[in-house]
């Protein structure tokens, strides 16, 4: 009998097929639609349209504002939590971490439905504060994604670094500013990446809290709903490029510098 030889590389085959069918192919389709017009001719009109149309640019700015505010609040809330969890002397810090990450197990629309009830009790009519409610719901939704990478980065931070800071005469705020923060930059970056871009496109949250202003996600959705594949695709493609730039930038410029030092 012929022995069937098994190569470890073959383990990657199922995912590779999945990747080609559901990631690479759709991306190519998006690029195709993005750079063709309704008749199927190659065209850059959609691309130019995005940057000249006041409505799309306004949406981009609004999305950026939401994303910046949500990311900043997430960072401010998550950092102390992650620090206490990572550096505190609790016997079951991973169990505590679970408490913060646990909400991720429940679908986010369900969670936001629940949160809406609380906000209604507090505010009365949700429609009066669309921006604030959007931010509150998104922060609630994305917080675990910020805590996790920060927790990992701060756990790796050698305790003797903090002690060395104190030893050299620094108070806790000084150690935080001059030692802990700079050394947790990789964690901050991955946390920001995990929150910032999803916050730009998560239009379901806006719909749920009756925020009728468009963000990038709703814009794409509205084009697709009216069967305008070309304009919808070019916006998706542009967002994709933004993600690409952001990733390359953080990898090369900020993390690259870190690696050089470590």
């Amino acid at each position: 009998m012929n022995k069937v030889t098994f190569d470890r590389k073959q383990l990657a085959v199922p995912y590779f097929i999945y990747l080609v069918l559901f990631v690479v192919m759709p991306l190519l389709v998006v690029l195709y639609y993005g750079f063709t017009d309704a008749e199927g001719h190659l065209s850059c009109r959609n691309f130019a349209e995005f940057f000249t149309n006041g409505k799309t640019m306004g949406t981009l700015v609004y999305s950026l504002v939401i994303a910046v505010v949500v990311t900043a609040i997430c960072l401010l809330l998550a950092y102390p939590v992650a620090y206490i969890l990572a550096k505190g002397s609790y016997a079951r810090k991973h169990a505590f971490l679970m408490v913060f990450v646990l909400p991720m197990w429940i679908n986010f629309t369900l969670r936001i439905t629940a949160l809406k009830e609380i906000l209604t009790v507090l505010e009365g009519n949700l429609a009066y504060h669309p921006f604030m409610n959007t931010v509150i719901c998104m922060v609630y939704d994305f917080l675990p994604f910020m805590i996790m990478p920060l927790f990992n980065a701060l756990t790796k931070l050698d305790k003797s670094m903090i002690e060395a800071g104190h030893d050299l005469g620094a108070t806790f705020p000084q150690v935080l500013l001059k030692v802990i923060l700079p050394l947790s930059v990789p964690g901050i970056i991955s946390g920001v990446t995990m929150v910032f871009l999803p916050a730009m496109t998560n239009y379901v949250v806006l719909d749920m809290v009756y925020n009728s202003t468009y963000i990038m996600g709703s814009l794409i959705g509205s084009y697709f709903n009216s069967y305008d594949w070309n304009n919808g695709s070019i916006i998706s493609a542009i967002l994709l490029m933004l993600i690409g730039f952001f990733t390359v930038f953080t990898d090369k410029v900020i993390l690259g510098k870190e690696e050089e030092r470590i």
């Binding site: 060395a164 000084q174 050394l183 470590i262």
Partner: protein
């Protein structure tokens, strides 16, 4: 000797984590200004904890730490005139060499010119001129070590703490750094407190060595004192090589051990149990007929400047460092000068266990309860003249004996105890916390969860931390009522 001033004083310091077992037990120590003091001991002996308490990273559970007679026990590290060189250097990877060294100076808000000058000076001190702009990750282990020292001394601390700073370096580098640290100490004139588990390093560098084990100070002294006059068997065994034998004083300045009688200079009353320590380099090999001991060479290994020779004298083994090579199988005589035999009185406090009497059953005896075990013991072993009448215990005058709750001390000889790796076989279970070789057997100290030590002699080699059970020699155990209850 010139007038010395105490700079650091530990006064009855005790440390326990979460209210559990004491890491440091009631420890007092004076450190003089300008001294190079080494805390030496095996891992887990509490030496690093002491350093961390002086540095301010840990607080003593009890007791005080004084600097210049001021209590600093509760002062945070950033308010102490003390700097630390950490074991793994703890250099900041996000800062270059200059910024690492200037870290403390910038916090003190010094002028830029002054910082520049001080950084330059200290880089010269550690022989790394011109390294200001280098990233710390590009430095070798030895260079990082120097930067870590520079970063600490640039703040001109009163006391410099060094936590096993050389342990990560290779042998040659370590030797070099030992000398450099010693020179640096001379030039700077500040007090160094150095922690290490390497006895050779401690002997080379220190003005004063503090030998520690089990959270307790075993001995404080100059390197010569520690080496030549170890205070106990632990120190003798830990510092350098030594031959240790159990014996008794057989006369005035005469000790009998290893199957022979030796002249010695320590004077204890005849009959006293002792332990004799002989350094391998102090044993002379002579002709077969001329030695106090005669034995057969079992092995001889060349160590560069001498041969490590083992001589079997009857059941006792003696390690000898000699310049000549004796072939295994050769029969030789061994002598030791009286001056080179160090006599340590036998520690009579070991294997004494405090318990109490909790009842009497006719036919079985008195029921004794100790912290780790309980047992029935024939009443005559505690009350020799007692008799039993109608199930009750009477003394020689026919009075009832009030035995209930009386405190009893049990004792056994280490050589009568036994060990087993089967937990069920013995009476108490614990871990081996220390052991050393005594001529023809090993002496093991086994510690139970109740922090009680059992000393047992055994011929086989077991390992530190082995979980073993101790088989108590119930027939040979001795019992006595605690003194104060006798009256």
């Amino acid at each position: 000797m010139s007038e010395t001033k105490t700079i650091i004083r530990l006064d009855g310091v005790r440390k326990s984590y979460d209210g559990k077992v004491n890491v440091i037990e009631e420890l007092s120590l004076d450190i003089n200004e300008g001294e190079f003091v080494t805390l030496l001991g095996p891992s887990g002996c509490g030496k690093t904890t002491i350093l961390r308490m002086i540095g301010g990273f840990d607080r003593p559970t009890d007791g005080k730490i004084l600097l210049d007679d001021n209590d600093i026990s509760l002062l945070p590290p950033n308010e102490r005139p003390v700097n630390t060189v950490f074991q793994k250097y703890a250099l900041f990877p996000h800062l270059n060499v200059y910024d690492n060294i200037a870290f403390g100076l910038k916090l003190k808000k010094l002028e830029k010119d002054e910082i520049d000058r001080k950084v330059k000076e200290v880089l010269e001190l550690v022989d790394l001129e011109g390294f200001e702009k280098r990233s710390v990750s590009t430095l070798s282990g030895g260079q990082q070590q120097r930067i870590a020292i520079a970063r600490a001394v640039v703040n001109e601390p009163r006391v410099l703490l060094l936590d096993e700073p050389l342990s990560a370096l290779d042998y040659k580098m370590r030797k070099e750094m030992q000398l450099e640290l010693k020179n640096m100490h001379k030039r700077l004139g500040i007090t160094f407190i150095f922690v290490t588990h390497d006895q050779e390093e401690a002997l080379t560098m220190s003005d004063k060595i503090v030998v520690m084990a089990d959270g307790k100070i075993q001995q404080v002294g100059t390197p010569e004192e520690i080496y030549n006059e170890p205070a106990n068997v632990f120190v003798a065994d830990f510092i350098g090589e030594s031959n240790i034998f159990n014996g008794v004083m057989s006369g005035r300045r005469k000790a009998s051990f290893a199957g022979a009688e030796f002249e010695c200079v320590d004077d204890y009353e005849p009959g006293k149990k002792i332990e004799a320590v002989i350094r391998p380099e102090d044993v002379s090999v002579v002709g077969e007929k001329d030695g106090i001991l005669t034995g057969e060479v079992t092995s001889a290994d060349f160590k560069g400047t001498f041969y490590v020779t083992f001589v079997q004298c009857g059941q006792y083994e003696m390690e000898v460092h000699c310049l000549e090579h004796y072939r295994p199988g050769a029969v030789v005589g061994l002598t030791v000068l009286p001056d080179n035999i160090h006599i340590i009185p036998y520690d009579m406090t070991i294997n004494n266990f405090l318990g109490f009497i909790d009842g009497f059953v006719d036919g079985k005896g008195l029921y004794l309860v100790f912290k780790d075990f309980a047992m029935f013991v024939d009443q005559h072993r505690i009350y020799p003249d007692s008799r039993v009448s109608k199930g009750r215990l009477l003394d020689e005058n026919g009075e009832f004996i009030d035995y209930q709750g009386k405190e009893v001390i049990a004792f056994y000889q280490p050589e009568d105890g036994d060990m087993s790796d089967d937990a069920k076989e013995g009476d108490v279970v614990g871990r081996i916390v220390s052991f050393y070789y005594i001529g023809d057997h090993y002496s093991y100290t086994i510690r139970t969860d109740n922090e009680i030590d059992y000393v047992v002699d055994d011929e086989d080699l077991w390992n530190q931390d082995d979980k073993v059970s101790v088989i108590l020699p119930k027939k040979k155990m001795k019992f006595r009522l605690k003194q104060e209850d006798m009256h």
